[in-house]
Symmetry: C2
Subunit: 355 residues, 2 copies
């Protein structure tokens, strides 16, 4: 069959060899010039750059990858819960990815996302990424008190940044929220408002930040010479369903809580849903303070007091730190712990209520 004359012949993209032909220099010189090596004369460098621009030259990532052993990929482990469930969960990851991507913009790195089902899966994926050299760096979250991924990666000297800290005194790059401080601040506010029976809706205790939150919760009581309402700590996944069920269970106790401290916006929604079903009114019968990282609590009815930290900012820090880590920088300076801002939307005090 005859070739279609209207179809322009697909001209293969310019390579370093093409440029060598057009400029008359060797491929070695071309490569050095484009990488900005000082050994090549300024005049030839300019000529080569001009030729490269004219040819629309773009370095072939595969060739570079093979030669250098680098992948120019930053891997991110994204946790998702069981597949047949479809509960509202992990919604903040969109913002995390957005932040990381912003940080990577302008660099040569691209972002690959690896979905993981649980901690064990995450550990296996991390090992595979290192063993097969699937990426040059790694970002992950959901840090356990003793996280095997951190142990492994520190040990194999693989660049990574964690969103969250483990409880071992290791040197590694990380970004975190000051959960101890936030849980303390929320609890203290409720205690100051006259609450004594305060529920803590918390993640599973093996998660490092769950323990941080419990620490802060207890410290708030201790500082007032009170004993923490340990029987009111609910632990589970971060789904809306869990928040709802926990609140229902807690409100059925002989001495139910008068206030809730919630770990995130999705459990909060569940708690509000439960209290609504039970006919309890927020700010009248019960108070709720939440941590929020996607700024949604302002739209709850009624709006509630939250500790807010836009998580996209943490995502950006993660990406920036990873770039520096992949460039060879040590982990010492690459740590940042954010304190969320309190956004007061309710008085959160028992005293202000109409009898």
């Amino acid at each position: 069959m005859a070739t279609d004359p209207t179809r322009v012949p697909i001209k293969r993209p310019a390579t370093i060899k093409t440029l060598a032909d057009t400029t008359g220099y060797s491929i070695a010189t071309i490569s050095k010039a484009l990488r900005g090596s000082p050994v090549v004369a300024p005049a030839t460098r300019d000529a080569i750059f001009a030729a490269a621009r004219a040819a629309g030259y773009q370095a072939n990532a595969r060739g570079m990858a093979l030669r250098t052993g680098k992948t120019y990929q930053a891997a991110v482990l994204m946790p998702v819960t069981a597949a047949d469930d479809y509960e509202w969960d992990g919604v903040e990851y969109t913002q995390i990815l957005s932040g990381i991507s912003q940080a990577l913009e302008g660099s040569d790195y691209r972002m690959t996302v690896h979905v993981i089902r649980d901690a064990a899966d995450g550990c296996e994926v991390a090992r595979r990424i290192v063993a097969q050299g699937l990426a040059d760096g790694l970002i992950f979250s959901g840090i356990l008190a003793e996280d095997p991924r951190i142990d492994f990666l520190v040990d194999s000297d693989f660049p990574f940044v964690s969103l969250g800290r483990c409880r071992k005194p290791l040197a590694y790059a990380h970004v975190d929220i000051d959960n101890e401080w936030a849980a303390h601040a929320a609890t203290a506010r409720l205690i100051a408002g006259g609450h004594r029976r305060i529920a803590l809706i918390n993640p599973q205790r093996r998660l490092s930040y769950a323990m941080d939150r419990i620490d802060g919760f207890h410290r708030a009581f201790r500082e007032e010479g009170l004993e923490a309402s340990s029987d009111l700590v609910a632990e589970g996944d971060l789904s809306t369903r869990f928040g709802r069920q926990s609140a229902i269970d807690l409100m059925r106790l002989p001495k139910p809580p008068t206030a809730f401290v919630c770990v995130n916006e999705s459990t909060t929604l569940g708690v509000l849903s439960a209290l609504g079903s039970l006919g309890r009114r927020i700010g009248h019968d019960v108070d709720v303070i939440a941590y929020d990282d996607i700024n949604v609590s302002a739209y709850f009815t009624p709006p509630i007091t939250t500790f807010y930290q836009p998580i996209e900012v943490l995502g950006r820090a993660l990406g920036q730190f990873l770039l520096r880590r992949m460039a060879g920088e040590g982990p010492q300076a690459l740590r940042q712990v954010f304190r969320p801002t309190m956004i007061e939307r309710q008085p959160d005090g028992m005293a202000v209520r109409p009898a």
Copy 2:
């Protein structure tokens, strides 16, 4: 400095050359055997496989990529809204990515996520992916009525699957929700309930599915011999803030709506927030029906009737279709349009209300 004797020497991973040495076959035979080529004798194939397993051989992705020109990457364009905003938006993308990732599991493909700011950005990124061969296939959403990405990719014969359909009669693989049907069903239900002033909270009209929804909305009125309340169609981004502001504006009209049809869960939350602020009670003063793809509406107070389609399922279809497309299959059979399920949580009728 002396090398640490406790440190095991990092043995470089097995390559095809290593296997050639240990087995005595040539690298060509090794390669053919591992790819399952029929030209190699069964006995040698078995021997080679055994040696590969023993050595823990894993094909080097970079070598393969360079030789074959393939990347073994499936790119996904993830839209995010303006960076300094942090409104709750795009939360469903976690589920989409999860679904795609599930479909890719077991294949040789990995998922790269490219964050895009707007339609123009998306177009540019798509072009770069094709031009630089950054991926072997592409998935994207937010399809415009006339989407330049689809035009371009169809024209360059690059494998892709879109989440949503454009309004041009082109042959391309896609997955979509039957938005015309869903908007019609929601509107018809409200009309049957006695509503005549119905507001439609919709995305920007340039989005293809925004037009689908308007079509369904109008058809529902037309079928009853009524005229659609076109003045009650609000168009904007899909943020909670937009939902809230739209509802406030609409309720201030001389003849405000008695019901709302909302495009997604985040705008719905905004509408409910607005109605709550204005003292209107859902199911008493006003009805709200929404489309929901992350199953969160059950937790609103009160729960509202929704059209529900778990978007992770669409994500899986996207991934499956892309794999087949990248394997060389034509786009004809790779189309699927999902009809969401109605979940009735309110009567949604004016007649049932107490006077």
